[in-house]
Amino acid sequence: MCSDRPLDDSKTGYAHRHLLGIEGLQREEIATLLDLADDYARQDPRAHRPNTLLSGHTVINLFFENSTRTRTSFELAAKRLGAQVINMSVAWSSIKKGETLIDTAMTLTAMRPDVLVVRHPDSGAVKLLSEKVDCAVINGGDGSHEHPTQALLDALTIRQRKGTLQGLTVAICGDILHSRVARSNIHLLNIMGAQVRVIAPPTLMPSKIERLGVTAFHDMNQGLQDVDIVMMLRLQTERMQGSYVPSVREYFRFYGLDREKLSNAKPDALIMHPGPMNRGVEIDTEVADDIDRSVIRQQVEMGVAVRMACLDILTRGQAWEG
């Protein structure tokens, strides 16, 4: 048995009790998380060395919204660190029937978990829950607000391929309006010194988005001009019902990533997507599967490493400030 903690235990470089969002984090804190995740990413999970770092710890995955990828990724991360994992999927209908989020929080606190990973369809819900529990909380995605671990794994993927985030130009394309992935990425990339562009039809572009320090484009060819990274977002099919976009066909024609539009980007530009992909809606299969350019599979792999780093950091038990 061994306790593999890649970083020095005495200082974590992360001064918060929870991970609720990227906004408000310091550059050094993000770097700490990425460095630790980098170390975890280099460990071979198939070496089958039992890791006892979180032995005796309990992680509860509390998902109020369907998710396979994120939940599995957190579960795997926790188990690789030796933690016990409980998965709770709370049907939204039962919440509507009366048990409030606070009731759920109280119930879970009584079970004394060490970490709660929470996904919720409403912005701010994870923060509300974090105020009512006495354990670390990780935001696994709240409404249209933030999805911090997705931004961290995206950053790690970019850093591994490009060496740095500083000075890169990143274009985030698609449904910016409803995307928590976009918001977390915008915050993180800005903090780490990248230039961020957002590309969306006007109906899917939030007002005042430029206040976040981004440049907005409605024309994808212009927006992709000379970028280093093309970050695509998933388009929820229900957006077709709300008059946000007239049809899948039209969306793909103007905002779907294909060879032609990609040719505006730098020749070595990377293609990213948080998944699951709607092939033929926001991304062409040919581009998605381009082994030289697409890092979509690597993003999934980095997801586990990043979540291991987050669980590690948040369970170090130092005096919290945040």
Partner: protein, 435 residues
């Protein structure tokens, strides 16, 4: 057999304020039973007459009681949030002598029985005078108009669909047209429903928080539409809870065109802005939402210059379970009965308007909108408030008499303290802190 003389009470050394008569001078007021027997500048300057109860109001203002145009009572149906009794206690503590309830109770006040129920409960409580509006449409469904004539006869003080704006232009047109025969008022919170599906003001804060926004356009578009219908029908229309600079402009232009239209706002729209939402503070979730700083300033100026006729409490009591929720799921609204007067007095302390003008917005104009009387005159019902307009204090929601405490004004510093509230000659509230 001797006839019992009604009790007489003399209020002496007060600063009398009555916008209706233009009175703003030191003086006194004498009540006999339910009425004002005498009132005037200099009255009782040489001391009170023999055989009457004397209340010395030195340092305090005496003005017509506040008339609140917009209160949610929650009785019947949600008595865990508020009752007619608890709202009555809260109202008189806030210097309110008359209030009108929205019809959005359970059951909805859309028939005569509902109007009578509220009237009966108010009579039993004998605190503030409690009236009710009836809904414009049956079941608040926005389709069929209610019995406007009969409901008016039974005491409905006006008609509104409350929190649900009447979206169907044709139904609104008919309501305005039909109601004009009964000289009653149609009140509408102008928000175009298809544009107001969000949860806070649209803009940078909503974008950062990932909350869906409500554009100020939702208000002004509906207001413009309604005013066209008013022009067409000649109905009496009152716009509730004006919250944007654009709406103020529209009201001004409508009046220049000669249109008779009245409107109100609530203190939170000239006191707070959207930044109050901060980090998902559900106590700052209101409908319409708290707007931009430019809008807040425009609303304050419009209250000052009289474009906005009245200030109402928009009292929206909610229990903890309705607010301790993710922002988008929390019920909108704040309690307002006990903060209406002190928050409004801030406009006077900032030098935006005179105390007399403020009393006009809080009492005289709302009473006129309801076709009622409010004023310090002989023979009138003795409904008035005695308050110290300068006394500093902190707002403490735990001490509210309202059953619900959902207020973003916790520990908010204000100047103004109600000392006595008198309804029909009876002192229904006396502050414990009168020195």
């Amino acid at each position: 057999m001797s006839v019992k003389t009604p009790d007489r009470t003399a209020y002496i050394n007060a600063r009398l304020i009555d916008p209706e008569s233009g009175l703003d001078a030191p003086g006194g007021l004498l009540t006999e039973g339910e009425e004002i027997l005498d009132v005037g500048a200099g009255l009782f300057a040489d001391g009170a007459p023999e055989g009457v109860t004397v209340i010395d109001c030195t340092g305090a203002a005496l003005a017509p009681g506040v008339v609140d145009l917009r209160t949610q009572l929650r009785e019947p149906g949600e008595e865990h949030k508020e009752t007619i009794a608890s709202a009555g206690r809260a109202a008189v503590a806030g210097g309110i002598t008359s209030l009108v309830a929205l019809p959005n109770t359970d059951p909805i006040v859309d028939d005569v029985a509902g109007v009578e129920f509220v009237a009966r409960r108010a009579r039993e409580e004998k605190l503030a005078k409690v009236y009710t509006y009836a809904s414009i449409t049956r079941g608040l469904e926005g389709q069929e108009i209610t019995e406007i004539g009969l409901l008016s006869e039974y005491g409905a003080r006006g008609f509104t669909d409350g929190l649900q704006p009447l979206a169907n232009a044709n139904v609104m047109r008919r309501a305005l047209s039909y109601s004009s025969a009964f000289d009653t008022v149609i009140l509408q919170m102008p928000q175009e429903p298809s544009l107001s599906g969000g949860v806070m003001n649209s803009g940078e804060i909503a974008m950062r928080l990932g909350l869906s926004g409500i554009s100020p356009l939702a208000e002004v578009i509906m207001l413009e539409r309604d005013l066209r219908l008013v022009e067409m029908t000649g109905g009496r229309y009152h716009a509730s809870l004006i919250s944007t600079a654009a709406s103020v402009e529209v009201i001004r232009r409508a009046r220049q065109r000669g249109l008779t239209v009245t409107c109100d706002t609530a203190p939170h729209y000239f006191t707070l802005n959207e930044s109050e939402v901060g980090d998902y503070r559900t106590f700052a979730r209101t409908m319409p939402p708290l707007r931009s700083e430019e809008d807040r300033q425009a609303i304050a100026e419009a209250v000052a210059d009289g474009t906005i006729d009245a200030i109402c409490s928009d009292h929206s009591p909610h229990d903890q379970d309705s607010k301790r929720l993710p922002f988008a799921l929390a019920e909108p609204g704040i309690v307002g009965l006990e903060t209406l007067l002190p928050l409004s007095l801030a406009l006077v302390h900032k030098g935006l308007l005179s105390l007399s003008s403020l009393v006009a917005r809080l009492a005289t104009s709302p009473a006129a909108i309801l076709k009622g009387q409010s004023g310090l005159a002989k023979g009138r019902p003795a409904d008035f408030v005695v308050f110290d307009p300068d006394r500093p204090r902190m707002i403490t929601p735990e001490r509210f008499r309202s059953k619900s405490k959902n207020s973003p004004f916790e520990d908010y510093a204000v100047q103004g303290q109600v000392l006595f509230t008198v309804v029909d000659g009876r002192c229904v509230y006396a502050s414990e802190d009168r020195t």
